[in-house]
């Protein structure tokens, strides 16, 4: 019981796909944004639980940035409704919402002539934070920039500018943090630092809405992801999406081909279909690998086969993503 409680604290919304509205940091219903004739995104609905890291995936032009800007009250939705950090998204509530959330935009947008500290100091005052000097120091330490406080932002590398923008977003200690492609254009080491920081923020209870087209990033970090390509294509924990989209496959390698593979495989529990691939391996489509794998092993041994390996082939989130995004391309072409 105690263990269960601990686990549910550590990974708040992973367990289920549904977020109860009362727990929602973000609740979006049928949200649509058009720029004139052009649709940025359409009929998007989802909930994000408090403390969750929610990944928002999609190709360029999918509407990710427009969604972030809408939820951050920078642009008004064309239709639909949303509740952001517990506040209904209406024009009058803009200021209240902006107090509770922070956005790290796609481009850092720093004042390049000003020092890191001057940039942050301006924003600490715009958020009217208590004890700004302390907050600034804290935010700079969090992103590892404490020793660059006096440097002009124009002299920083792209990665460090990104970190400064992240520090700026942390100043107000927001309940909900929007990160719009925070690692785009960063080298792997800098990206890993940002990932560590995101995990650290989650540990402290900040809800994070992360847009990205780096699938590995989403897979590692996010409790749940949504795939957007103007409309919302799918939503769920990464591993669940994989399972939902792709049947499990066992790859069986034996030293010599089986004499009668048909009878051997088709009678096994949980094996739905089988085929032989070009390399002489057998691919079994299974509904439950935990049942199928031991049963297959026993059957092969009983049939006198020399088993080299039995493994489950892994589909990644990338496969899921490409499945959606590629289908879309075909739709566009036709």
């Amino acid at each position: 019981m105690a263990l269960e409680l601990e686990m549910s604290l550590a990974k708040p919304a992973t367990a289920s796909n549904e977020v109860r509205p009362a727990d929602a940091a973000l609740s979006v219903h049928g949200l649509t944004k058009r720029f004139g004739e052009r649709v940025a995104y359409e009929d998007v609905s989802f909930d994000v639980g408090c403390g969750e890291i929610f990944g928002f995936l999609g190709p360029n032009g999918a509407g990710k940035t427009s969604t972030v800007r809408t939820l951050g009250t920078l642009i008004a939705p064309t239709s639909g409704s949303a509740t952001v950090a517990g506040v209904p998204l209406t024009p009058e509530n803009g200021e209240t919402i902006r107090h509770r959330v922070a956005i790290m935009p796609e481009t850092p947008g720093l004042y390049l002539r000003l020092s890191v500290e001057e940039n942050l100091s301006c924003f600490a005052d715009l958020y009217e934070v208590d004890d700004p000097a302390d907050r600034i120091e804290h935010a700079l330490r969090a992103v590892g920039l404490a020793d660059r406080a006096k440097d002009a932002c124009g002299s920083l590398s792209k990665g460090l500018r990104q970190c400064t923008a992240l520090a700026r977003a942390l100043l107000s200690d927001p309940e909900l943090l929007f990160l719009d492609e925070p690692t785009s254009g960063l080298d792997p080491a800098a990206a890993r630092d940002v990932h560590d920081l995101i995990r650290e923020l989650r540990r402290r209870g900040t809800t994070i809405f992360l847009t990205t087209h780096r699938l590995a990033e989403a897979e590692q970090l996010c409790d749940r992801v949504a795939i957007l390509n103007r409309t919302l294509r799918t939503i769920g924990p990464p591993e669940e999406l994989r399972d939902r989209m792709f049947a499990h496959t066992l790859v069986v390698r034996v030293r010599r081909p089986l004499s009668s593979p048909g009878p051997t495989f088709s009678s096994l529990p949980s094996v739905d279909a089988w085929q032989e691939d070009a390399c002489g391996s057998y691919l079994l489509t299974v509904s439950d690998p935990d049942v199928a794998a031991p049963a297959t092993t026993r059957a092969l041994v009983a049939a006198g086969a020399d088993v080299m390996s039995i493994s489950e082939s892994q589909h990644s989130l990338e496969d899921v993503y490409l499945e959606f995004v590629d289908t879309d391309k075909e739709v566009e072409r036709s």
Binding site: I75, R98, H99, A102, G109, R113, L126, E128
Partner: protein, 240 residues
Amino acid sequence: MTISKRRVGAIFRKELHEYRRNGNIIYAMLVLPLVFLIQPVVQVFTLSASASSGLRHEHSLLYLLAIPALVPAALAAYSLVGERLQGTLEPVLSTPVRREELMIGKALAAFVPAVVVSYFVFGLFVAIVELFAQPGIAPALVQGPELIAQVVFTPLLAIWSIWVGMAVSARTRDPRTAAQLSILVSLPTVAITSLLALGVIPAILPVAAGFGAGVLVLDRLGLRMATAIFDRERLVTSAK
């Protein structure tokens, strides 16, 4: 409507930091006023002592009012488009800052240097006249009422130019167009001060008072106009 002094101050300080490190702005703030100083100075030095009696009807000092009208127009015109081009407006607009606070902060940052420069150039002109002009010119030129007009009109004209500049800035995509447009819209006030200076419009107290009242009303309307034109969405999304 409550205005947060702290947020206004944050914008104001940030703008001043930026000016200080932007060579172009410092250059514009110094060169433009000096250009407007040349004409009256030349005029004064070409006058002989005997001409001083005719000077009573010339109001050369009022030429210098072009400085508070045009310098802040240029500064304010840059304020929103400039940030939009740099991509720095989106983070600012995603904070709780209100548009009035942003406008007032930016306006103050154009106002203070513009007024300081105007008074400085004006003081410089008076000093030059007092020290170097032919005897008799200085008392004829530097008269009590004109000094008062200069002191009063400088901030009034600056405020109008700033609101115009910011309104233009909120709606244009290119800083140069913004600067030209807002200088253009500020010209009518400059024209009136020039007409006063040339004596076409008599520079008598009722006229000056009427003009002053007119500018004051415009100033009051200006903030409302500029904030009404200010549109968060437009400023954020046309950044590219």
